[in-house]
């Protein structure tokens, strides 16, 4: 496993946990473990909400890794992905920064209704809608060479549905 050591720093009322991972599918499970451990530091977040954050982390890291591997521009392929969890008062901000060359969330095409047989033509594309549903706020920021996904979570578990 080549995920780099986890950094944890306190900044006033905020604890920041950072994990630097290579763009490889097998490290997504490590990202989930780290997020689970970070969420456990705030007792306001129960096990169900922790599962929401682990799922969002999995989706965001998967997108970051796939974007970077798809880009295949030589030296950029191996640049690290940075996952950060900032724990505030009953509020967790999770960011995933990649070097995947940028991403346009408005270019996402909505899936057909689940009752439409054409829904089965779409195996991909659920990651961003899931993150949008699981988080309380979602923002995509341009960052050098790629995108930083900024997800903010309160302690209440998601109960809604996509669509």
């Amino acid at each position: 496993m080549s995920a780099e050591p986890i950094a944890s720093v306190s900044d006033g009322d905020e604890e920041v946990i950072e994990l630097v991972i290579p763009p490889r599918p097998d490290v997504v499970s490590v990202a989930r473990l780290v997020v689970g451990a970070a969420v456990a530091m705030d007792p306001a977040f129960d096990e169900e909400r922790s599962a929401d954050l682990r799922l969002a982390a999995s989706e965001a890291c998967t997108n970051a890794i796939e974007a970077q591997l798809a880009r295949r521009t030589g030296h950029d392929d191996s640049r690290s992905i940075i996952l950060r969890c900032s724990l505030g008062r009953e509020r967790i901000v999770m960011t995933v920064q990649d070097h995947g060359g940028g991403f346009d969330p408005d270019a996402l095409v909505a899936h057909p209704e689940v009752t439409d047989p054409a829904r089965l033509d779409h195996e991909d594309g659920l990651g961003i809608p899931l993150i949008r549903l699981l988080s309380d706020e979602l923002e995509f920021r341009d960052s050098p060479g790629g995108t930083t996904v900024v997800m903010t979570f309160g302690p209440r578990p998601t109960t809604g549905r996509i669509g």
């Binding site: 997504v28 799922l55 998967t62 089965l120 195996e123 990651g127 899931l130 996509i162 669509g163």
Partner: protein, 110 residues
Amino acid sequence: MDFRLEVSERDAWSIVAVSGEIDVATSPRFRERLIELISTGNHRIVVDLRWVDFIDSTGLGVLIGALKRLRSHEGELRLVIDDPRVLKIFDITGLDQVFEIDSVLDTAAP
């Protein structure tokens, strides 16, 4: 990462018992095994997810692909899920309306 697949037969059904975590790292093996089963004529499949700790959209995509392939052969795909944490992702994506989901294997593969 903990991930295992075991295939068994039960009357007309092929039972695919999955354990561990289904994500971008393990989904390729899951997809390959299901495609192999379908392409060798197994068109009634139960995927038993009772020992799965985690599944994300990558795993859902594998199941959507398998369902599409099976329907093109007039086959069937049923899922067994008894963990509310696993069931939740099917619920919030609306895919609980797409898949036939049972909580016990005996109901899924009678």
